[in-house]
Structures are given as structure tokens and as C-alpha cells.
Symmetry: C2
Subunit: 331 residues, 2 copies
């Protein structure tokens, strides 16, 4: 097989908390892996320097030289102009505005660099090597602090005019709902993300409701996360179960919209909240059955992602291989 | 050009009010056109017989024999299983459930028949011969009694797993909003369609508000349609302007969702309400700027459709030519 003769690419997952760099083969196999903290507060220059160190570390671990790399794929959250390699805005990187990361890395490393939205990367990863193998039409959602999305249509990543398609988390599902971090109101992310779950739990605790969430957080309400709520819900806590179900119902409304719009074979749910499993997915599936049209609702399977925290780097690698293939075909 | 050597196909727009049949050339040129009333109340059998008469009429007008036809394309509203040629459900054809129209017509006429959702057909028509020429990624909305949609991604009609993708009108944008004809709540269609506009005007008139709408309808509130409201709004009637702006704002929320999800170059608005022009589109464009991400909001153009009532038949013809081409390529 021709692919086998190609060497690894370097793939980076530039997250809000940490930067993962890895050398990845065309088969999806991760040859080496390296990570460091993002420390986004220190601003773009410092983060880019740490990213370069992480890349160099992963390259060295894989016993490669930078000159042997054929490309670097970078998965990052936010609105990216992938054509131009620019991070326009990113929820995880608050000081980043129109940062030409592609050009900067290409300059510093002398290697072609391909930017991709992190959820699009995860969609690609899951499609090629995870839950979505042998499926033509797939929508991927990462439900975590925020909600991101990636879309596979007719077997290919759909990226739109600027490469920033797939912002499923910022689909309004409650026109007069709470304001989202993006400035819009009633986004799916504002109602069904980890942030929304934690905020709703804290709101209800502040109203005087009792719950084991407070004990788990040792009464420090500001430390409550979606994980705390999930833990309490698994222990049968009433308020926690209620909050999770409410978020799951909103997630279901978002999924029903996607089912009506995309009529996909598969919806894949990744991200931290997907670890709740059926506690999150069963109510969501039920809402899809109630709200979406029967034919597409019967067709779609709604499943958990398989690649876990590797989805981003695997997808960034897949994207890089495909971009190189496209360029070679065009040349 | 090879296309020029191919003969016309027969295209049918099976609407709730009338059935249009036409012979259409690969260039999009309509050679003959024939129509009759649908009279959907009479049930599937009667409607199918009238459809056959309309087809025979259009064939004869084009001086063709049925045996000379290479295919028939049928555009119809509703959830269609296009792979199997089945009309699953249709808002315009209340008695139609799982009607295998494709097989029935193929049997009766001896010609290959291709079913396509009417809004998908209009999307194809506008993409090839209307407002969307030379655009890769386009979302089409028909805003009429209901709201339908069609999606072009990477230059091709996106139809999903069963061929029923594009149900944009049934995207929930107000989770606790009014119930829609589809059974779901807070659909775009329930808030921004012609039906929604007329219902909201009547509701406010019934609450005792004064408006020239009542005079235009000669105080028979049950005769008020979106057209009555649009006419009053053009004359500066306060209530009418208010109702149209409210619907336009909801339309804008739906469009903002599509901008964030699809990052398209173009959104094309057809259907009866699009005749309101900027009265409807300007508030909607403003909402898109406020609610969607900047990069995709700057990229997208939101324009009126160009093909008018021919979009469905032209699109059904394009679809038929493409299906034939696909089959020939596969063979």
C-alpha cells in the first residue's frame, strides 16, 4: 500500500489547558507523544514557544529530525481561517485575535503547517479510526467546557467557505435563553455544556436546595464542575440527576435539529461529558425520537466517541495527510 | 458539448395546490409546461391520475412521446425516502403515508423516476441556473406556508443517509415555543413561516389591536394570509410591520444557526414570503450579524432566489440528469 511508504507527520492539539504534540503514522498509530501546559494567560508568544518545545520533544522521542517531517497539523478550538492558517478567535486562548499561527510555525520550523478546528479534527479522527468507520455522513459533537462540532458529508470533512463550518455548539435552540460566551443567546453550548451543568447546579444550591454536590465540593461552590455533578448524579442525588437530565434534554434538542438537517447515519458524542454515558445519552436519544422526523430519527445512531483524548491529534494528522495528498494531486 | 445531445426530461412539481409538469432541457430551458390542480383531499390515487395527465400534457406539448423520455423527476414537499422513491409523509398531501410514487410512475409510464424533496430541488435549480451559480456551499430556504430547505456542499446536493436531509424549517430555535405542524415545538417554521405571520396577526387583532389588516381582509380574519400582512406592512401599518419584523428576526436566528454550522458563501431565500424582499431580509441579515460568528457572518451573502416558481421543476430536471449521469458512470 502506498500509504505505508509515507513517514509520520507531527500533530498538535492546542487546548486551553494543555498542548499535546505527537508523531502519527498514516495508519493512525501514534509513534510518540509529548505534552506541556498551555498557560494561555501568558499570551500568544509564550504559548507558541511552548508549542514549539512540545513539537521538538515529540519529534525527538520519535527519533526524527524536524527536517524529516513532511507536515504539521494543528488542532485548535475556535474560529479558524484554515485557508490562511489564522486563529481568528478562540475561547481557550482569550488573547489570540487573528494570529497567523500557520505562517509562524512554517517560518520557525520550515515545515508546511495545516490548521484545523479541534472538533473537526476529532470528527475526522473518529471517522477514519474511531466510532465512525465505514459511515458516509456523520456529525461529531464534543461536549465539554464548551460544545464543538465537526461534520463529515459524503465521506469527507465539510469545512465550508472559510474552513470554520461545524460550530454546532453555537446553534440557538432557545432564542430567549441565557447568554453564551460567544455573545449570542440560547446557544446549545449555553444550555448543555459542562459549564452550563455546573452553573445550573450552583444556581440551585444558591437558592437553598440541598444536594450531595455541596458535600462533594466541600461547600466550596466555586469548585463545582460538571464532573462533581456527574459524580453526585451517579450516587442518585436528586438535584444532580435533575440538572444532568435538563442538560441532556437540551442536548437532545440540538441533536434533533442535526438529525432533521443532516439525516446522518451517525452522531458521535465525545468530550468530557460523554463519559457520563447513557445518563446523558439516553434522555437525549429520547428527545430526538420525540422531536425529529421519524425516518431520519430511525436511521441515526447516537454513540460515544472511541478515540478519547487522542481524537484531536489523530484527526489533525489525518487532515495533514489529506492536505498533502490534495496538493500532490493538484501539482 | 455532450450535454446538448441529450434530450429533455420530464419534471414535475407536486405541490399542495397545483401540479406543474414540464419538459426541461439539460440547459435548464423549459420546452413545455402544463399544470393542473392537486385537489389533495381526493387522496393519493386521484392525485396520481391527475399527475399522469399533467405529464402526458407536457409531453404532448413538447411534441414528444412518453417512450422518448429518458427520465422523470418529481419534486414534492415532505419527508421522502429518495433511495426507494417513497413519499413517507408530506405536509401538502395529508393522506399520503409511505406512498411508493417512484415505482407507481415507473410502472405506469415505463420511465425511470427520480424523487426529490421540493426545497432540495429548488436548491439544485438555484445552484445551477439561479442565484447560486459558481458557488460551492449554499443553503436554500423556501419561506412559504411552511419552511423547507436544501443544502449544497462542495458543489453537490447534500441529501444524507435516506435522502431527506435539509429539513431546516424544523430546526428548533425556541425550545419552549409554539407547537409546529410536525409535532415538534419552537421550529423555525412555527415562528417565521407565512402561517406563523398570519397566525400572529390574527392573534393580535383578536386581542383588540387595530390595524389596516382588518380592513384589507374585510374583517374576515380567517381569510388573512401572510400576503395580507405584507400588503399592510408596505402601507406602513404598525401592527403588520411589527409582525413581519418579529418573523424576520426569528428567520435571522435560523440563518445565524446555518451560518455557524455551514459557513456557506450564500444563503438563498425563495418561497412566497421572499417577495417581501428587504422588509424580510434586512432584519434577518442584522440578526445574523449580531448572533453568528464574525468570520462566517462576513463571508455569507443572503439573497433572494431567482428562479421563482420554476425552481422546483428546473431542480427536479437537474436531479434527473445527474442521477442518469451517475448511473451511466456506475454502469
Amino acid at each position: 500500500m502506498q500509504e505505508g511508504s509515507r513517514g509520520p507527520v507531527l500533530a498538535v492539539d492546542l487546548g486551553g489547558t494543555k498542548i499535546i504534540a505527537a508523531a502519527v503514522l498514516p495508519s493512525g498509530k501514534i509513534v510518540s507523544r509529548n505534552y506541556c501546559l498551555t498557560l494561555a494567560d501568558e499570551g500568544p508568544e509564550a504559548v507558541i514557544n511552548r508549542l514549539l518545545s512540545a513539537v521538538n520533544g515529540a519529534t525527538a522521542k520519535a527519533k526524527l529530525k524536524t527536517s524529516e517531517l513532511t507536515g504539521i497539523g494543528i488542532a485548535a478550538a475556535g474560529i479558524l481561517d484554515t485557508e490562511k492558517g489564522i486563529i481568528t478567535t478562540s475561547p481557550n486562548l482569550p488573547d489570540w485575535h487573528d494570529v497567523p499561527l500557520g505562517d509562524i510555525l512554517a517560518d520557525r520550523l520550515g515545515v508546511a503547517t495545516y490548521l484545523i478546528n479541534d472538533a473537526s479534527a476529532a470528527a475526522l479522527g473518529e471517522h477514519r479510526f474511531g466510532a465512525g468507520k465505514r459511515v458516509d455522513n456523520l456529525v461529531y459533537l464534543t461536549v465539554s467546557t464548551g460544545i464543538g462540532g465537526g461534520i463529515i458529508t459524503n465521506g469527507k470533512l465539510y469545512s465550508g467557505a472559510n474552513g470554520c463550518a461545524g460550530e454546532i455548539g453555537h446553534m440557538t435552540i432557545e432564542a430567549h435563553g441565557p447568554q453564551c460566551n460567544c455573545g449570542n443567546f440560547g446557544c446549545l453550548e449555553a444550555l448543555a455544556s459542562g459549564t452550563a451543568v455546573a452553573r445550573e447546579a450552583v444556581r440551585r444550591l444558591n437558592q437553598g436546595e440541598t444536594s450531595s454536590i455541596a458535600q462533594l465540593a466541600e461547600a466550596r461552590l466555586e469548585t463545582i464542575t460538571a464532573e462533581t455533578v456527574a459524580l453526585a448524579a451517579r450516587q442518585g442525588d436528586h438535584l444532580a440527576c435533575d440538572v444532568v437530565t435538563k442538560a441532556a434534554n437540551y442536548l437532545g434538542i440540538g441533536l434533533a435539529n442535526l438529525v432533521n438537517i443532516f439525516n446522518p447515519e451517525l452522531i458521535v458524542i465525545g468530550g468530557g461529558l460523554s463519559k457520563m454515558g447513557d445518563m446523558l445519552l439516553e434522555p437525549a436519544r429520547k428527545v430526538v425520537k420525540e422531536r425529529a422526523f421519524q425516518l431520519p430519527a430511525r436511521t441515526v445512531r447516537i454513540v460515544r466517541a472511541r478515540l478519547g483524548s487522542n481524537a484531536g491529534i489523530v484527526g489533525a494528522a489525518v487532515h495533514t495527510f489529506e492536505q498533502q495528498l490534495d496538493r500532490n494531486t493538484e501539482a
